[in-house]
Amino acid sequence: MAWSFDSKSPVSFQIAHILRLDIVSGKYKAGEQFPTVRQLASEASVNPNTVQKALSILENEGLLISKSTSGRFVTDNIVAIENALAIMQSEYIDRVIAEAKALGISKNKFIKYIEERNDNI
């Protein structure tokens, strides 16, 4: 199945986001070989040059390491992966809070809802 994309932000950013999530969630583990541009392009049904751009973004962030002879690997720097995870978590919370605000949920109510559902998280 082709990956689905929203109609506003660049497809390369969206691919980078999906793959970043795959790295911080451990689908691809530290130090592991990463799929090739060709593999990802056909899995996602996306232009290879666009996938290449997404991988460059992750290389710049230090999550992927390119080795000229043997392809790309997930970084073996655990701290870099943990930092990326912390950033994604914090951005997620920002989004949730913004949406809660838009729905008129007060801080107290918000905390109460979270506590009520705590067992299910």
Partner: protein, 234 residues
């Protein structure tokens, strides 16, 4: 990587005296691109494709394929999918494959058979027994199984179902070669955008906008489909 596969210089074509369909059109496409040629009905997309394919002759202007002016020998570099199938309906699918193998040195018959199998098309079937969509698939298999430098696909996904559409796009993506480029015309912009890297809009017989799809999104926050509707608002 950046040697152009196609260069059109001041290309003009009119079918009869009056407004030309193409009016001093300039277009350069480097290698390694999957390129969307987009524009409203009647804007001259198919005419441009036919000129590049050598089916029509321009009134003036030049076309270069891989840095050489278009000639008979350019045909070996170009794999062209016309708007409508042109094969005799008496032929069988496997006979067409034999025919392409005889005709084109770069035809990969094994690849073609694999694609037919994926698409569940019976090689011994006669063309006249196949549905319109299936005929289009056969034609696309023949075109994509060549190892050409320039693929010209005129409306390759218009007539087929969404599952086959995805297979066809994946075939185009999977066939990606940094030395070659693919030009696709279509109205199904949303379906095709992720497969493209570059695009051009045609209007008034010229290229009115050309760019990289991802950069357009980055700059304008708009998908290609949204941009198209904005530029060609009726």
């Amino acid at each position: 990587m950046s040697t152009p596969v196609l260069e059109c210089e001041r290309l003009t074509k009119s079918y009869r005296a009056g407004t030309p369909v193409l009016n001093e059109l300039d277009l350069t496409i480097p290698s390694g691109k999957i390129f969307g040629l987009l524009g409203p009905n009647g804007c001259g997309k198919s005419t441009l494709i036919k000129l590049i394919a050598g089916i029509l002759m321009p009134n003036s202007g030049g076309i270069k394929i891989c840095s050489e002016y278009r000639s008979e020998s350019s045909n070996a570099l170009i794999s062209y999918l016309p708007e409508r199938p042109y094969f005799s309906s008496r032929m069988k699918v496997n006979e067409l494959l034999d025919y392409f193998e005889d005709f084109y040195e770069d035809f990969d018959k094994l690849l073609a058979y694999n694609m037919l199998r994926d698409l569940k098309i019976e090689p011994l079937a006669q063309l006249k027994t196949l549905s319109k969509g299936t005929k289009e698939k056969v034609q696309l298999v023949l075109v994509m199984a060549r190892r050409a430098k320039l693929y010209l696909l005129d409306e390759p996904i218009g007539g087929v179902d969404p599952a086959a559409r995805e297979y066809i796009l994946n075939t185009i993506i999977g066939n990606y070669n940094p030395e070659a480029s693919v030009i696709i015309t279509t109205h199904l912009i949303t379906d095709i955008e992720p497969a493209l890297d570059e695009f051009a809009f045609m209007g008034g017989g010229k290229i009115i906008m050309q760019g990289n799809c991802d950069e357009v999104r980055e700059r304008t926050g708009k998908s290609l489909d949204m941009l198209f509707k904005e530029v060609f608002r009726c």
